[in-house]
């Protein structure tokens, strides 16, 4: 069957004639296609899902219980029985890393969600209404810029004392939502002046409707990207807090806490500090690549796809 001569582009008749259909694609479908064509980002997403999945199903996948002691294999080097070796109490390091991923991922995702919600609401209101609320937000975030985030976090974490993953996530979210708030504020500030917002206002739409129906969908790209990157930041911060002894306390295994234990048991047992750290690096690396891919995919002005 040869295609009939005629003007280029599908017409309704032709599509019916050949049993073709024009598929309506939403913005999201375009974004998904662009993302999937970004090979590095797609690969990273798969690796990330595998690692997080391994953490989620740690109780099925882990060869041992994370508290299980094996007195015949104290501080054993990595071998077939213990792929990541054991610690000085004979606990299997691989199993502890798997449970550690679960804790760290939970903290990361929780912080990602919480700080995005807080940041979007506060940033959105500040950007839309401006005025004193906007001023206050900007001055407070400016003040925090003069202090190193880690120092502030350590003081606050010290106060919390023996931390559970949820408590730590709340603390982290409470201190890093300002970054997302600044992004949303900036975007709302410029969107406020757009013609379609003015049109909506003229049509009698309320403030809430304008914000939710007209401005938020146009900011969703940067919000999703920074939410993704926040997960990586949160996992790094959880690791450093737990490592310094201000974060998640043993016996709950978290990646940073495992590194802390590993260092306490002597740096010559290299396997105890190597593997949890490699897992952190791979997770954060993948999150950054996924975030990069999303940034390219969610930018509707960008049609060309980097392969």
């Amino acid at each position: 069957m040869t295609p009939p001569e005629g003007p280029a582009g599908p017409s309704e008749e032709l599509t019916y004639q050949y049993g073709l259909e024009i598929e309506a694609r939403s913005q999201w479908a375009y974004a998904r296609r662009r993302f999937l064509r970004h090979r590095l980002a797609t690969t990273s997403l798969v690796i990330l899902l595998l690692i997080f999945g391994a953490g989620l199903f740690a109780n099925y996948l882990a060869p041992y219980q994370y508290q299980e002691i094996n007195l015949n294999a104290l501080s054993a080097k990595p071998s077939l029985h213990h792929l990541f070796g054991t610690d000085s109490a004979g606990r299997d390091s691989l199993s502890r890393v798997l449970y550690g991923i679960r804790t760290s991922a939970r903290v990361g995702v929780l912080v990602g969600i919480l700080s995005t919600v807080i940041g979007t609401i506060v940033g959105g209101l500040a950007g839309y209404y401006g005025g004193w609320a906007d001023n206050l937000l900007m001055r407070v975030t400016d003040l925090f810029l003069t202090l190193p985030l880690l120092a502030v976090l350590l003081v606050a974490a010290k106060y919390l004392g023996h931390s559970t993953p949820t408590k730590l996530a709340l603390l982290l979210a409470f201190l890093i939502w300002t970054q997302i708030a600044r992004i949303v504020r900036g975007s709302f500030l410029s969107l406020r002046e757009k013609e379609y917002v003015e049109a909506a206002k003229a049509a009698g739409a309320g403030d809430l409707r304008i914000m939710l129906r007209h401005m938020l969908p146009n900011t969703i790209g940067p919000i999703v990207v920074s939410a993704t990157l926040t997960i990586g930041t949160a996992i790094l911060l959880e690791a450093v807090l737990s490592f310094l002894g201000f974060g998640i306390e043993p016996p709950t295994p978290a990646l940073g806490a495992l590194l802390n234990e590993g260092q306490d048991q002597g740096i010559d047992k290299w396997w105890l500090v190597t593997f949890p750290g490699v897992v952190i690096v791979v997770i954060v690396l993948c999150i950054n690549f996924v975030g990069d891919g999303m940034r390219d995919a969610l930018d509707p002005t960008q049609r060309r796809v980097r392969t």
């Binding site: 003040l143 880690l150 010290k158 450093v240 590993g262 740096i267 190597t274 690549f289």
Partner: protein, 325 residues
């Protein structure tokens, strides 16, 4: 220019006052310095009360803030809550060590980052460019403390296998009398090498990315095309026209990074047990002593503000398009 500097200095006074209030309330609200005493069954409530009274801890926060500011200004931050140790001499000592440490890290990472970034931009999409890009992404994802641990692990393994000590993994010098002249210098380098490498990695990654982007932007600009069109040799186009302009945005990046390096110092100094600000901060925090923590935060905030001011002034010096009224 001078009026600009004076105005900026005057403007930073209210910022510092606001910061000091923020620091004081934040540290006082989040920490109960007597928590450990309270949970001790051998200490009665009356004894706690008398301690609180003698240390003015029973007053409202705003009153205590007044006392604290008075001490900070007239008595150089006063003394620690426990042990009545003078804060300033300790802080000044560790500040010297940490500034040496941080400034050398900034200089090394700036040189490396600029070189890598410029070369990557000139040879865009070459093998070198891809390697540098990949490494910088790995650098962004690597926690500083883990890199420090890995360097220690490496040195320990080398020592165990071949009995060679390349670099030391803790402290500032091997003995109290580390000798002098060349021996002292070598000893210091052997001690500081690993922490400096750990601290430099992230900054080098950041600087090289910014330098690459900024260099690429400048190379595509009109005045570089003009310089080429009028027949200048490529070397001169790059060094005189492109490179110097590409350097300007990096000043801001380095200024912002300065604050982040204090966070890096907290981690690296703790791991390598260096007698610096980071180690001092963590130890004060573990001792639940609020006053050294407040003094530390105050000193760091001041330094960050000063550093940002220097960066803004440098910006004006290097970029004639910017005029300060």
């Amino acid at each position: 220019m001078l009026t600009y500097i004076i105005r900026r200095l005057l403007y930073s006074i209210p910022v510092l006052v606001a910061t000091s209030f923020l620091i004081f309330t934040f540290v006082s609200i989040t920490g109960d310095p007597l928590g450990r005493l309270r949970s001790n069954p051998n200490i009665t409530a009356e004894q706690i009360h008398s301690i609180e009274h003698s240390k003015n801890l029973d007053k409202p926060v705003i009153v205590r803030y007044g006392y604290w500011i008075r001490d900070a200004v007239t008595k150089q931050f006063g003394t620690t809550l426990f042990g009545n140790r003078k804060i300033w001499p300790d802080l000044r000592r560790v500040m010297g060590h940490t500034l040496q440490f941080i400034l050398s890290a900034i200089i090394i990472s700036a040189i490396l980052g600029i070189a890598i970034g410029v070369y990557s931009a000139l040879r865009q999409y070459s093998l070198f460019d891809y390697t540098a890009t990949t490494l910088s992404f790995v650098g962004f994802a690597t926690p500083v403390f883990w890199l420090a641990l890995m360097l220690q692990v490496l040195m320990v393994q080398i020592f165990l296998k071949w009995n060679v000590r390349v670099f030391y993994t803790s402290g500032l010098s091997s003995s109290v009398n580390a000798g002098h002249g060349f021996h002292f210098l070598l000893d210091r380098v052997q001690h500081l090498a690993l922490p400096v490498i750990a601290l430099c990695a992230l900054s080098t990654a950041t600087y090289s990315r910014f330098m690459r982007a900024s260099m690429l932007e400048v190379l595509n600009s009109d005045y570089v095309r003009t310089a080429r069109a009028k027949g200048l040799i490529e070397r001169r186009v790059i060094m005189r026209h492109a490179f110097r302009n590409a350097l300007i945005p990096l000043i801001t990046v380095i200024a912002i990074d300065f604050g982040a390096l204090f966070a890096g110092a907290i981690v690296t100094e703790t791991i390598f047990t260096l007698d610096g600000m980071g180690f001092y901060f963590v130890n004060s925090l573990f001792a639940s002593d609020p006053y050294p923590v407040m003094a530390w935060l105050m000193v760091v905030a001041t330094m960050v503000i000063i550093f940002n001011l220097i960066a803004d002034i440098l910006y004006g010096v290097f970029d004639p398009r910017i005029r300060y009224e």
